[in-house]
Symmetry: C2
Subunit: 217 residues, 2 copies
DNA sequence: TGTTTTTTGTACTATTTCGCATAATATAGG
DNA sequence: CCTATATTATGCGAAATAGTACAAAAAACA
């Protein structure tokens, strides 16, 4: 052996003068790789060997950084939720007319679900976390929180739209919100079965039509 | 060992004078047990040992009867679809007013998803088959067929309701159908996260309100 | 009674899996 | 240069896993 000479790539981050041997990985990108694997195969079908290979971290480093497999899964899920929220939050907040706003929200969702064109990932919550939720209280709490957050965000949209007169006074914001969430769920599931984006967009556009009434408001 | 003396329980079915040693299991009930396990844990997390224990068949018998794990999974899924279709088909066909009809359809769906109160199973298609669908063309075809069948069945309901004047002439049966399917999907997912039946029924009832318009038709 | 046929029961193998123990390596501090 | 600290690298080990070989068992048939 001619010496491995890994050179310890001198991770960029603003050096705070850490004591021991420097890390040869960036926790954030490693977690991103783990997340992608879990999204692809789910919890049980993802092995530590694959996680190790994908992150470039060997097993002990994985444990030191993230804990055991379940903890890594949970941290991946937290990361997924944070990312998803970040890409959606402004769309929910802004002052765009309701139809256009919904259109953008669903487009952002599809961007997440179809990110890898060759192997669509779908939604973490819907594809794997919900399955684990039955038996794992911690995961279940996160899943339920996700449902609640989405329902609330949609409800607030519809409430404001009604106040602005974009929707009839008789509109029920909560019922509309749950259907809007259901539309998120249905495109998440269908995307995983490789339903093409065009079809998913047609579903979205049909849903918006029903939820907001005929275009001529 | 005092001799196992299993007694070969003389399975009931109308004896067609089969040649060799009689089976000590009934294929249909064994497949039902396998289905239940796959619904509970998904494909990867269900081991052959567990399948063997649950069906009462030893490993070689499982292979002889159903093939390898993947084939057993697919046969379980076929069985699930057949059962689900059987419990739904008359509800879709009958001549009940649209709101009541939808209410019964969703109630039947919830009966399936929540069958085991202590560990709700959710929907096979949504919880595990869709995940496998990305990588397995055969499973994908079944999943897509399931989506299509459900969409069509709902669309036919809405079309007939429109013809009967239960819905305005402007109603779009396909868009309504996809939202009705989306509602199926959302309660399937939420049920798996132990959302109580009351809440799921509220979602259903809100959805029916939006899809069919205010009760005073 | 003996042969044929079908299924069961046991055990085996090769591989994969998760988690961890231990030693080597690379940095900072004194 | 030596020590303390933090991380990497190697690889062990016990358990689980999927699939199969083979003999024993239980029936029909001749």
């Amino acid at each position: 052996m001619v010496q491995k000479e890994k050179k310890s790539p001198e991770i960029k981050s603003e050096a705070p003068k850490r004591r021991g041997r420097p890390r040869s990985y960036e926790p954030d990108v490693a977690l991103g790789k783990a997340l992608d694997l879990f999204r692809k195969d789910g919890f049980a079908a993802t092995s530590l060997d694959e996680l190790s290979a994908a992150t470039g971290m060997n097993r002990p480093s994985l444990y030191a950084a993230f804990g055991d497999k379940r903890e890594l899964y949970i941290k991946s899920y937290e990361r997924y939720r944070a990312d998803a929220r970040a890409s959606m939050i402004e769309l929910f907040r802004g002052e765009v007319p309701i139809r256009e706003r919904l259109k953008r929200i669903y487009a952002a969702a599809l961007d997440i679900y179809l990110a890898d064109a060759s192997e669509p990932r779908g939604c973490f919550t819907v594809m794997t976390a919900a399955s684990e939720a039955v038996a794992d209280p911690e995961i279940r709490a996160m899943v339920l929180d996700g449902f609640g957050e989405l329902d609330k965000a949609f409800a607030s949209c519809f409430r404001r739209a009604r106040e602005k007169g974009e929707l009839p006074a008789s509109a029920d914001p909560l019922a509309l919100a749950q259907l809007a969430s259901a539309t998120i769920h249905t495109i998440a599931i269908r995307s995983r079965a490789r339903v093409p984006r065009k079809e998913l967009e047609a579903i979205v556009s049909g849903a918006i039509g029903v939820l907001c009434g005929p275009v001529a408001n």
